[in-house]
């Protein structure tokens, strides 16, 4: 009990400070609009009235946290995720769950593709010297390239080729989750010490046996660490991929329409939903990691 309070209390305090700063900034940024309206109507407001008005504007410069939470609640619990249209049941674009699904589906598909390809490439790199020397420098260099910034172009090009829907977005996610997995997995596959490798050599184990019985299990902690980075990157990739392509559904599209129409509350609720999705994805991977490592006898 003491340990829990020791871990949770500092976090709560920090979160509390952030929320307090947020409220203070909301008042600071929104009061100009309140004063402007009041001046035009020729009335003077007390400080308390200004503060109260800064909390409830329709299009505030910075929505107060409770406004964002209310919008989140209204667009998730307050809206059905599906609606009937022309006799068929389709997703309800008023529901934030629907948009989250539109973003999560390509994210997960891309994550799976990128993760698999990354693991395959890492295995090839570990087993082939020429592969290692040719690909690894480029894999590391590619991390320094802001590819995410040009992701929308890839979408436009793929749309021109005729690929639409799920696939282009998931290709961006796959690309972004690919390299962290390659780099982490190579490190992990190389992590067994010389003693362990020598032992398998005395057993005259084949390369495949060494891979399966020593290298792969040894690489799992590294793999999970990079998978967590990769899944967060994949989500960011999908959201950015949705931005300038005029996507109609998805969290990125929600951000974009919000910015076009000045719907700040909508932007912030989409941001929160994205944050919740990212946290959920990382948390699920963390759970799988803990279960796997515990089963291998590595976990605490």
């Amino acid at each position: 009990m003491r340990r829990i309070s020791g871990a949770v209390l500092p976090v709560l305090v920090v979160v509390g400070v952030i929320v307090a700063i947020w409220y203070a900034s909301a008042i600071g940024m929104n009061r100009a609009w309140t004063l402007d309206v009041a001046a035009r109507q020729g009335i003077t407001l007390t400080r308390a009235e200004i503060w109260a008005d800064a909390m409830v504007q329709d299009r505030p410069r910075l929505p107060a946290p409770h406004q964002v939470l209310a919008e989140l609640w209204a667009t998730t619990a307050g809206e059905p995720a599906f609606r009937e249209r022309r006799g068929t049941l389709t997703g309800n674009p008023r529901s934030l769950f629907f948009h989250a699904y539109q973003t999560l589906a390509p994210t997960l598909l891309g994550f799976v593709i990128g993760g698999m390809a990354g693991m395959a490439l890492a295995i090839a790199i570990v087993h082939n010297r020429a592969m290692d020397m040719s690909v690894m420098p480029w894999a590391i260099a590619s991390q320094t390239i802001p590819i995410l910034a040009v992701a929308p172009i890839v979408i436009v090009v793929l749309n021109a080729v005729g690929l639409t829907g799920l696939v282009p977005k998931s290709l961006i996610s796959a690309y972004l989750s690919f390299f962290p997995v390659v780099v982490g997995m190579v490190k992990g596959l190389r992590s067994p010490g010389a003693m362990d490798m020598d032992l398998l050599r005395t057993y005259s184990a084949s390369a495949a046996q060494t891979l399966w019985k020593l290298r792969f299990p040894a690489s799992l902690p590294f793999l999970f660490a990079s998978l967590k980075v990769a899944v967060a990157a994949a989500l960011v990739g999908t959201i950015v991929a949705e931005l300038p392509t005029g996507a109609r559904f998805g969290l990125g599209a929600r951000l974009l329409t919000g910015s076009y129409y000045g719907q700040t509350i909508q932007i912030w609720s989409a941001l929160f939903m994205a944050a919740i999705c990212a946290a959920a994805l990382v948390a699920v991977l963390g759970l799988i990691e803990r279960a796997t490592l515990r089963r291998m006898g590595l976990g605490a």
Binding site: P10, R129, A130, I145, A149, P244, A275
Partner: protein
């Protein structure tokens, strides 16, 4: 029995498919399907053979041969990819609207150096760099403040790593709304993006000194300030540089993506958006090349500074050996 089976499989499984018979068979099959494939496969296999030979030669060679191969092999690989790209575009007559050839991109690059330079100045020097400096500087200062109290450390670390994993780039439309279309909003997006990854690294770094070292400082009767300057800060540098290197890429991404939401008529993100609309893909790819070069150079600078300042760290010493 087990040993005998192992002996029989001495040829590793992965080496079998590149045997000459399979290669020739594959080439014949490719020829029957499409003669253009043969040309590309031949180029690929030729370069691959060269690289495999170089790698194998370097394994038994002198130190100079190893260094030479370390440079030559990736260069050959990169050039091969570029060559295959060029070949594929030419042989299959891919429309330049979809994928321009590298040569066309190089021509566009050379013809528009003035525009590209103006975009580079606007986006990188005016947007990304100030934001990077402010964001990283503020994060280090906050980390120093947080480091004073164990309570704050335990609170800031989980919240900071949570926020660092979030899609912060999504705040770009909001910050553009607040700070206008100029470089200030780009710098603001960059600050928001780099702050938390940097904070987490700096806080972890300041905690990196171990109890023995702190005890030693204590026996020297070092003041808090001396302990910070002579022990904690140098110990934090490897972590700080790790954060600085991660943030270089984030800074460029933030500055470019923010321009998609609104910018003056200059800047890399602006140019990419406009040229996509005009279907001038060679120019788009030239901008991408600029972004890649700038990102790699920025990262390289940080890596060089790291090597100069943390030469004592095991990870650096291992590389020099």
């Amino acid at each position: 029995m087990r040993a005998a089976r192992g002996m029989a499989r001495r040829v590793p499984a992965w080496r079998v498919p590149v045997g000459p018979g399979v290669v020739i068979g594959g080439l014949v099959l490719a020829f029957l399907l499409d003669w253009r494939l043969v040309l590309m496969l031949a180029v690929w296999l030729g370069a691959w053979g060269l690289n495999a030979g170089l790698a194998r030669g370097a394994a038994g060679g002198s130190a100079g041969a190893v260094t030479g191969a370390r440079v030559a092999v990736p260069v050959i690989f990169g050039l091969t990819l570029l060559g295959l790209w060029e070949l594929a575009v030419r042989l299959y007559e891919v429309s330049p609207v979809i994928l321009p050839a590298p040569s066309a991109i190089a021509v566009a690059f050379a013809a528009n150096t003035g525009t590209l330079w103006a975009d580079f100045v606007q986006t990188i020097l005016r947007g990304a760099l100030p934001g990077y400096a402010i964001g990283c500087g503020a994060a280090v200062l906050v980390a120093l403040a947080v480091d004073r109290s164990r309570f704050l450390q335990r609170g800031v670390m989980p919240v900071g790593s949570f926020l660092a994993a979030l899609p912060i780039v999504g705040t770009a439309p909001i910050l553009v709304m607040w700070f206008g279309f100029g470089p200030a909003s780009k710098a603001a997006v960059v600050v928001a993006m780099v702050f938390f990854p940097m904070l987490v690294n700096a806080v972890a770094g300041l905690r990196a000194s171990d109890a023995m070292q702190r005890d030693l400082m204590h026996t020297y009767a070092a003041s808090g300030w001396q302990e910070l300057v002579k022990l904690r800060l140098p110990n934090a540098l490897p972590f700080v540089f790790n954060g600085l290197k991660i943030c270089t890429t984030l800074a460029l991404i933030g500055a470019i993506v923010a321009e998609f939401f609104g910018s003056p008529t200059v800047g890399m993100g602006f140019r990419i958006k406009i040229e996509v609309g005009r279907l001038a893909m060679d120019m788009v790819w030239a901008e991408i090349a600029v972004a890649a070069l700038a990102g790699s150079a920025f990262y390289g600078l940080m890596a060089l500074a790291e090597r100069g300042l943390t030469f004592w760290h095991p990870s650096q010493r291992a590389r020099m050996r």
